[in-house]
């Protein structure tokens, strides 16, 4: 966290307004089009400080092949599964008669 404060030239306890002002000042110094890497670092610091201290290691998800699934996806998968079952059922009927 301290790194993020340093990057924006702030000390811990800075108010949201101070964080934003410091971020804007840095943007003017390092615009995205001419200083992309500095810009990314500034942006990462701003996003971390703005959100508060809880989620520091957001960028690297070390657990592979796993993700949070939203209910919409599960519903879609269920529908696909049931469509697949329907087809087999139809085929069964066709085979039987």
């Amino acid at each position: 966290m301290q790194d993020y404060y340093d990057r924006l030239g702030l000390s811990p306890g800075a108010t949201p307004a101070e964080i934003k002002a410091a971020y804007h000042a840095k943007l003017k110094e390092f615009p995205a089009h001419s200083h992309p890497e500095d810009f990314k670092a500034i942006r990462a610091a701003y996003e971390a400080l703005r959100k508060g201290p809880q989620r520091e290691d957001d960028f690297f998800a070390e657990v592979p092949v796993q993700a949070e699934l939203d209910p919409a996806l599960i519903e879609q998968l269920r529908q696909r599964a049931s469509v697949a079952v329907d087809v087999t059922f139809d085929d069964l009927i066709r085979l039987t008669f």
């Binding site: 995205a32 089009h33 942006r43 092949v65 699934l69 998968l77 269920r78």
Partner: protein
């Protein structure tokens, strides 16, 4: 040094703007008109027509006239004019080159660098095609800029307080909504959403069908389905649409639309604004849903928006204004030069990028999520082919993000990285951007080999993907813009550029580093 310009390459109209003392202004043609209709045609005698003249011949010669080419950008669509077949980026390049000529004549100076705008919701392939169009036209493209973002740059705010602005941009062929925070000279896009296939063209089509139905009622005869008659009807519909923004009724008169033996049948009918509104209302409802999604993406409600700005020619339609006002009840909704402000904003950004005395700072986002196909655990067991997002939508650009994946099967020796753009949880339902493989992975149990996938997304919306196998450090990468179909190689770009230049009666563009090549080409030209 040449001048820098901003260009709004629109579906229906295009404009070019320059900067003077830090202030943007739109460059008119010789007759004083600011808008160049985005029409390209070939006359009877094989002469190239651009803008107004092409627009005029459209109803008589739709087979020799190209309109709304923007809708085909990024596809492998081709169109034939005269004896040559053109790709969408080449037709767009003709429009851009005509604007370039207009600017050079007015400024009495060479114009070399340009910022060209695209709808915020344009995909990677559509952006790349637009950039190519600029290069074929002979520009150095400084940036591909999002249209609603460009419009937001034009709004100077006096106070240093932050204001949250919703930009509603409904043009001839595309719709975007962006939520933008403006603090002094810093303009930050928070979220964008849209529809790449919704705009005035669709309203014209609906009204065209409506007029055909009216004709059938009047004469008990179908309007024949030939290109010329349909083009006349479409243009009549467009004119009626424009009239209905001003008046509650309009009369459509198309004499001699159809001939039936000896008799000619005319179309003469009144259209009420209400008729038109009933036709387009279902489409507009979709734009309001897009507003809601953009708001929910940034955890905001309509109450958080300080003001809304309407951009794009289709926002002249009174129903559009009413619906947006009704949807954002306590927000002032205003409009300022809906046809011009995107181009003006592009010129401002061109000034920033070329180091002119313009102080705007712009922070933009990518409206689409980017990721790869992966196997994921679900309540139904592990499912392959799901979309694993690496850069979520509305991430600030440029950005770099990484994600680590494990092998899915015991002894797996090949990992295929398939890259997609979109929001569907099923990978294949999204837009494919390219794929590559890492081979020769040492056989180990599932999950024991880890591969880090790194996405690097630049300010123009161009993606580079790198995958690294963590054990051996084996690495493969892919610049996504090189692999798409419909994209041009640098040799093809050169060829197109010269072909387009010769249409304008110009010699191939001078290449400082390659004198000999230019000489050869000139001599070829003389032989023709």
């Amino acid at each position: 040094m040449g001048q820098v310009v901003g260009i709004d390459l629109g579906t229906t109209n295009s404009i070019i703007a320059a900067l003077e003392d830090g202030q943007p202004w739109v460059i008119p043609d010789e007759d004083g008109s600011m808008l160049l209709p985005s029409y390209v045609g070939m006359s009877d005698g094989g002469q190239l027509l651009i803008g107004q003249s092409a627009w005029r011949q459209y109803a008589a010669a739709p087979d020799r006239t190209v309109k709304s080419i923007k809708r085909q950008m990024g596809t492998d669509y081709t169109v034939t004019l005269g004896d040559r077949t053109y790709r969408p980026q080449e037709i767009s390049a003709i429009i851009l080159r005509s604007l370039k000529q207009r600017a050079e004549a007015m400024l009495e100076d060479e114009v070399t660098q340009a910022v060209i705008t695209v709808p915020a919701y344009f995909t990677d392939a559509q952006r790349q095609a637009t950039k190519e169009a600029g290069e074929i036209a002979g520009f150095e493209v400084l940036q591909i800029l999002n249209e609603p973002t460009a419009a937001a740059l034009v709004f100077d705010l006096d106070s240093e307080d932050s204001e949250t602005v919703l930009v509603y941009d409904l043009g001839g062929g595309t719709f975007d909504v962006s939520i933008v925070e403006v603090t002094g000279d810093v303009t930050e896009v928070l979220a964008s959403h849209g529809n790449n296939r919704l705009g005035g063209d669709d309203f014209d089509r609906l009204l065209q069908h409506f007029l055909a139905d009216r004709f059938l009622q009047l004469h008990d005869t179908e309007v024949p389905n030939d290109a010329v008659t349909q083009a006349r009807l479409l243009q009549a519909a467009e004119q009626a649409k424009i009239a209905l923004s001003e008046h509650a009724f309009t009369t459509v008169r198309e004499p001699f639309l159809v001939s039936q033996g000896e008799t000619a049948l005319h179309l003469e009918t009144d259209v009420a604004r209400e008729d038109f509104e009933n036709l387009i209302k279902p489409l507009l409802t979709g734009t309001l849903e897009a507003i809601d999604r953009a708001l929910s993406d940034v955890d905001m409600t309509a109450d958080d928006i300080d003001r809304a700005i309407l951009v794009g020619g289709s926002t002249r339609i009174p129903l559009v204004q009413h619906l947006v006002e009704g949807h954002l009840p306590d927000t002032p909704v205003s409009s300022f030069e809906p046809d011009l402000c995107v181009g003006l904003g592009a010129a401002l950004q061109a000034g920033v990028l070329s180091g002119a005395a313009v102080d705007n700072i712009l922070v933009d986002v990518s409206p689409h999520s980017l990721g790869i196909a992966a196997m994921m655990d679900t309540p139904l067991g592990p499912v392959p082919g799901l979309f694993s997002t690496i850069i979520p939508r509305n991430s600030v650009i440029p950005t770099s993000q990484s994600q680590v994946y494990g092998t899915a099967a015991d002894g797996q020796q090949i990992v295929e990285i398939e890259v997609f753009q979109g929001e569907n949880p099923i990978a294949k339902e999204n837009v494919p951007l390219g794929a590559f493989r890492i081979e020769g992975i040492p056989p180990k149990p599932a999950g024991a080999v880890q591969v880090e996938v790194h996405f690097d997304f630049d300010i123009n919306g161009i993606l580079t993907v790198t995958a690294t196998e963590k054990g051996k450090g084996q690495q493969q990468s892919l610049v996504v813009n090189d692999t798409q179909t419909g994209r041009l190689s640098s040799h093809e770009l050169h060829q197109s550029r010269d072909a387009i230049a010769s249409l304008f009666g110009a010699l191939p563009l001078f290449e400082a580093e390659d004198d000999e090549w230019v000489d050869v080409d000139v001599s070829l030209d003389e032989q023709e």
